[in-house]
Structures are given as C-alpha cells and as structure tokens.
Symmetry: C2
Subunit: 216 residues, 2 copies
C-alpha cells in the first residue's frame, strides 16, 4: 500500500516534468512561427494546446484522487497542493505560447517582428526556454540552488523587456503603431511565461525549505 | 467538533468574498488614477497591494490547515482546493490593478489615456467590476445561474478590446506609438482581470454541478 502510494506521488511529479517538455516544445514552435512567419507552425501550436489542457486535467484528477483517498499529511499534502498549482502554471504557459502563435498567424504572410527586434525576441525566447528548463529541473531534483538561476534569468527578461520599450518608443522607430502594439504584447507574453517558471521554482523551494523566497 | 469544522470552512468562503471587495476597490482606484491622472491614487493602489497579498497568505494558510487537520473528503475537499485557486485568481487581479496604476504613475502629470479612448476604458473598468461582483456573488451564494452573466460580460470585454484595437490601428489614430502601447497593455490587464473572474465563477459551477462549463 505504502509503495503504491509513493508510486502515485512520484508519478504526479514525473508527469509534471513531462508536461514541462510539451510546454517547451510549444513555445519553441511559437517562436519559430513568429520569426519565420510560418503559418503551419503557428497552427500546430494552436491545435496542440488541447493536449496540454488534457495533461493538466489528467494530472489534476490524479492529484485530487490521492488527496481524497490517501488523506496525505505534512510534506506529501504540501507537495500535492503545489502540484495542483504548478500544473496551472504550465497550462497558462501553453496558453501564452498560443497567444504568440496567434500573432504570427494574424500577420502572415508578413513577419510580425520588425528586423530591429529580431535579436531581442530571440533572446526573450531563449531566456524563457532556460527558465522553463530550470523549473523542470527543480521539480525533478528538488535542487533549490537551481532556483537562483531562475532569478538571474528573470532579471535578464526584465532587461530585455525594458530594452524593447526603449526601441519601440525611440525616435528611430519607423515601423508604425501596429508592430509596436504587437511587440509590446508579445514581450508581455514571454515575460509572463518566465514569471510562471519562477513561480514553479518558488513553490518547490518552499516545499523543500519551508520558507518563501523573496515575494514573486 | 463538526460545528467548528463547518465554521472554519464557512470562514474561508467569507474571507474570499471579503478579499473580492478589496480587489474591486483596488481596481476602482486604479481606473480613477488612470482616467484622472491621479498620482496619489495610483500610489495607494500600489502600496495597498500588500494587504491583498497578506489576505491571500492568510486564506491559504487557513485552507491548508483544514486540509491537514481535518482531512476533508468529497465536496469539502473540492471546495478547499477550489478556494486555494480562487485566492490565487484574486491576488492576480490585485497585481493587474497595480499594473494599471503603474501606467498612470509613469505618465503623470499627463493622462495616459487619449481622449478618444476614455469611454472605452470606462466601459472596460465597469465590465471588469461587474465581473468581479458576479464572481463574488457566485462564491457567496453558489448560484450557478449567475455564471451566465459572467459569460455575457466576458463577451462584452472581448468586443471592447477589439474596438480598442480598431481605434489604435486606424488611420485616424494620431496619438503616436507610446499611448498605443500603453492602451494595448492596459486593455490586456482589464481583460485578464475579467478572465480571472470567469475562472472563479467556473470553479464554483464545477463544485456545484460536477461539470466543467465550456473550457475557459
């Protein structure tokens, strides 16, 4: 019985890590759709989001069943409640990848990203991907030191977003209002994906140490 | 014992409804700060968010203690898990109100909202407020019919956002890039506040009926 219970708990964590891989893939395709003006890539992200939503529902139901049948206490209870939140973070990261893909689709066959901002978007996508990867590692290994890397990446994302605003609002910006609005929102989506990764990392730090890291 | 337990559960719901009032007040002040270019009002929203964060922490801790000590099953367990999520929705609505207030502060002493969009922002704020109010009513009364009003308001919010984009991207827009970027992000913040209200309503519908309404 105890073994089976432990197996169920481990399975929830494994599935969370697996879901993280799906979210990384969705974000990577969304970025490709955006930078290459690739409409079929955008469609794949949009339709593929159903699988991420299904994974959320399945992991929720499993966590819930353990809560209901095993009435776990202390650490296991906290872990299950944290899992229910992390799965919501992951679903939201999937939704944000869909938002990015939809901007790519809306502007197709044109590329939504003006040339001057291509390196910034590449950097934002890379930073967000590193943050999701770090969050998955923290979930898998409970290595709270890795959470520091998340904070560093979060600062990078802030800098990238501020840089983007400087470009959009500078006198040299001659791409007009529409790309500026697109880029402001796209920047926000990447930033929010990073925020959710930070929030996942912090939940594990709290589980392991019993202390909240500095407020999100 | 049973009475005390029921009292604890009721208290969590009461506190959620009370927190909804705090969030409504924050959003109302943020909108005032934005439309009147009122810097002290903006500051009050920004500093006041700490109280909303504290409420979240307190309600989480109470829900968690009930989970750990009473090991509730079935309906009560689902209610507590739903509460943990609703409290996260509410905290996020507070954060989004802070984002709105920060745009007001950033553009002070100028008003961030161009005259042509003042009625749209007023409508968005009114719609978001109605959605928070409806969500609180559903939490307090478990009246699932009220969730329909939320869907109607959600459609209104979509329409307002599309109208705003049409204005920003029309040939008549002569306010330039900066206000367009501000308004695109502000529109997004109001829309997300509405989304969180919808998500709260749906959690209660699921609790009461056992069925998820159409996907969020």
């Amino acid at each position: 019985m105890r073994d089976q219970y432990q197996h169920q708990l481990d399975r929830v964590l494994d599935e969370l890590v697996e879901m993280t891989g799906d979210v990384r893939a969705a974000l990577s395709s969304a970025t490709q759709a955006l930078l290459d003006a690739d409409a079929s890539c955008a469609e794949a992200v949009i339709t593929g989001d159903l699988a991420i939503d299904d994974a959320r529902e399945r992991i929720e139901e499993e966590s819930f069943n353990i809560l209901a049948r095993q009435a776990p206490v202390a650490g296991d209870l906290r872990m299950l409640v944290a899992s229910l939140r992390m799965v919501a973070d992951l679903e939201r990261m999937g939704d944000l990848s869909v938002h990015i893909a939809k901007v790519a689709r809306l502007r197709y066959p044109a590329r939504a990203v003006p040339t001057v901002l291509v390196p910034t978007i590449q950097q934002m996508a890379k930073t967000a991907d590193e943050m999701i990867t770090a969050a998955a590692e923290i979930v898998a290994t409970h290595d709270v030191e890795a959470a520091r890397a998340l904070d560093v990446a979060d600062d990078d994302m802030d800098r990238l977003r501020r840089f983007m605003f400087r470009v959009l609002l500078s006198d040299e910006w001659d791409d007009g209002v529409e790309p500026a609005v697109d880029m402001a929102l796209i920047g926000r989506y990447y930033e929010r994906i990073g925020d959710h990764a930070v929030s996942m990392g912090r939940r594990i730090v709290f589980l392991v140490t019993g202390h909240h890291p500095a407020a999100v």
